[in-house]
């Protein structure tokens, strides 16, 4: 079976800065894949290339057997790519349910159905009690959850999560982890960018480590964390020798 998502030799340059160099990764159907790496590794850039915010300088991106390299974000969403934003981008003057309806309208043209779908998603993500609250009145953890809910309402095949677990309290993070598992169990493939290693590692099936814009290592989380190259990228060479 072909991979759901594939990047082939992707480069992204911003002026003189090379954010991604020759990145080739693939994500299989039903997987939870973690995209990790130290600050400035090029995770967010790669993430935005996959979501369709901008096309790569070079290379191609394939989704569900189709070349989507130059497809705009809205169209990718229609094909089944859902995403969240690292810095939450709620529709602040709209209620929680209305935020989610916007997502649900991608596959439901009748308002009544879109509304029903949105309620279903709020139920699934544990936001049902907050449906009629303005998005601007949510606490940060709820806003993260709303990002996920909105993306889920578009009924994606692939859900891209950008640091949804970062900056949460341990309890909030655990609820978040449970939600991600639930999403995968619902048959949705997940690619998540994360910072907090101890939360991501037990959750993902496979981890891809980026460093300085390149794929450094990829494999099972237990192997990846022991890899000297990874330790060196995060902590410096001295520690890698020690390991």
């Amino acid at each position: 079976m072909t991979a759901l998502l594939e990047t082939r030799g992707v480069w992204q340059r911003f002026g003189g800065l090379v954010a991604n160099s020759d990145v080739s990764i693939s994500v299989g159907r039903g997987e939870i894949v973690g995209l990790i790496g130290p600050n400035g590794a090029g995770k967010s850039t790669l993430f935005n290339l996959i979501a369709g915010v901008l096309p790569p300088t070079q290379g191609s991106i394939w989704f569900d057997g189709e070349d989507v390299t130059h497809m705009p974000a809205a169209e990718r969403c229609q094909r089944g790519v859902g995403r969240t934003f690292q810095v939450v981008k709620s529709f602040e003057t709209m209620t929680v349910i209305d935020n989610v309806i916007v997502g649900a309208l991608v596959r439901n043209t009748v308002m009544r159905e879109a509304r029903r779908k949105a309620h279903e998603v709020l139920e699934f993500t544990g936001l049902a009690a907050r449906a009629d609250v303005l998005a601007s009145d949510l606490v940060p953890a709820e806003k993260r959850r709303l990002e996920v809910a909105r993306a889920l309402a578009t009924e994606p095949k692939l859900l891209l999560l950008d640091e949804v677990l970062t900056g949460l309290t341990p309890t909030e993070a655990q609820t978040g982890v449970a939600l991600v598992r639930k999403v995968r169990d619902a048959g949705i493939t997940v690619l998540m960018v994360e910072h907090v290693m101890e939360i991501v590692m037990p959750l993902v099936d496979r981890a891809i480590v980026l460093d300085l814009g390149k794929v450094l290592v990829e494999g099972k989380p237990t192997e990846v964390v022991r890899d000297p190259k990874v330790i060196s990228a995060y902590l410096g060479d001295r520690h890698a020798v020690g390991a």
Partner: protein, 327 residues
């Protein structure tokens, strides 16, 4: 929850129907022509502001150039009527369609601009339109067009003896603009527009084609405003560039919505109901050398409202919005 939502929409519709019915009865008690005149203008500006609100309020693309579409509606109607004998009813539709097409043509380059740059572009384009009409000989240039009056006629939509037909048309137009907004509010377009206003990048990621949404809003908004322009031309029976395309029209469409509550269903109607009578009254009572006093009065009002109730006057009636405003 869904029940609440459906009930709220039904309630809005019932309130609107009752208000429209009451307004329709008003001429039975109000015989004074001067007051009738004010009512007509109030209804017209409520309709215009409601239409402006679709693009600028819901979709968040602030336009201060809607006078252009108003003027296009007026000129299309009168040029077709005086030069080709086309009845104003058809001219009105033609004006609406032309304005919608022009709005989309202008949107094509300008919707790439954001925030203030977009506002500036709309002002400049409307001024260019004004200059073009001032110099267009065939369209009467700065002298304008006088509409030949041959007695009262619904066919030619002109009335000398009574203002009531104009009153009922303005009421119908206002009701139509309100109803279109009401209907769009719970539609895919309505949701897309609000999403585009709040956060275009997030909207795009949820499958909203931001550019097309703006184009749709611009077309609907311009069409309705041009119909208003056609009405106004018939009502005046004389048009020149300044009196149907002047900058003040752009302001008088924006201000009621801002005062009443921008991006809300009731804001424009509420704002117009307060602002327009006040403008007319201050103009005639303080009048004369006081030309401009009306502007000072409602300038002050806008400043006070923006400070005290940034969501507009409707926030007094809506609990969630009021709570937000006081935060």
């Amino acid at each position: 929850m869904d029940k609440n939502f459906a009930a709220r929409r039904r309630r809005d519709l019932i309130i609107a129907a009752v208000l429209a019915a009451l307004a329709a009865l008003a001429p039975l008690f109000i015989k004074d022509v001067y007051v009738q005149n004010i009512l007509i203008l109030t209804l017209m500006y409520a309709a215009l502001s409601q239409s402006w609100n679709i693009l600028s309020g819901y979709c968040g693309q602030i336009s201060l150039g809607h006078a252009l579409y108003f003027g296009i509606g007026a000129y299309t109607t009168e040029l077709l009527f005086t030069k080709f004998g086309v009845l104003p009813w058809f001219g009105m539709l033609a004006g609406g369609v032309i304005a919608a097409v022009i709005a989309m043509g202008l949107g094509y380059p300008f919707f790439r601009l954001r925030g203030h740059y977009f506002v500036i572009a709309t002002i400049v384009i409307a001024e260019i339109g004004l200059l073009l009409f001032q110099n267009w000989e065939w369209a009467g240039a700065a002298m304008g067009i006088t509409i030949p009056v041959r007695g009262d006629s619904w066919l030619k939509f002109q009335f000398m003896r009574s203002k009531l037909p104009y009153f009922y048309f303005a009421l119908a137009l206002c009701s139509l603009a309100w109803f279109v907004t009401w209907w769009l509010e719970d539609s895919k377009w309505g949701f897309w527009w609000r999403a585009v206003k709040d956060n275009p990048e997030a909207a795009e990621s949820l499958g909203v084609v931001v550019f097309n949404s703006k184009m749709g809003a611009a077309a609907v908004s311009a069409f309705l405003v041009a119909v208003g322009g056609a009405f106004y031309a018939q009502f005046l029976a004389y048009i020149d560039p300044e009196s149907v395309m002047g900058f003040q029209f752009s302001l008088l469409m924006a201000l009621p919505a801002v005062l009443g509550g921008i991006g809300t269903l009731w804001g424009p109607v509420l704002g117009a109901a307060i602002l327009i009578p006040m403008t007319e009254l201050t103009r005639s009572y303080i009048g004369g050398s006081g030309r401009g006093v009306d502007l000072i009065v409602y300038g002050t009002l806008i400043v006070l409202i923006s400070l005290a109730l940034p969501q507009g006057l409707v926030s007094l009636f809506s609990r969630t919005k009021a709570k937000r405003a006081t935060r």
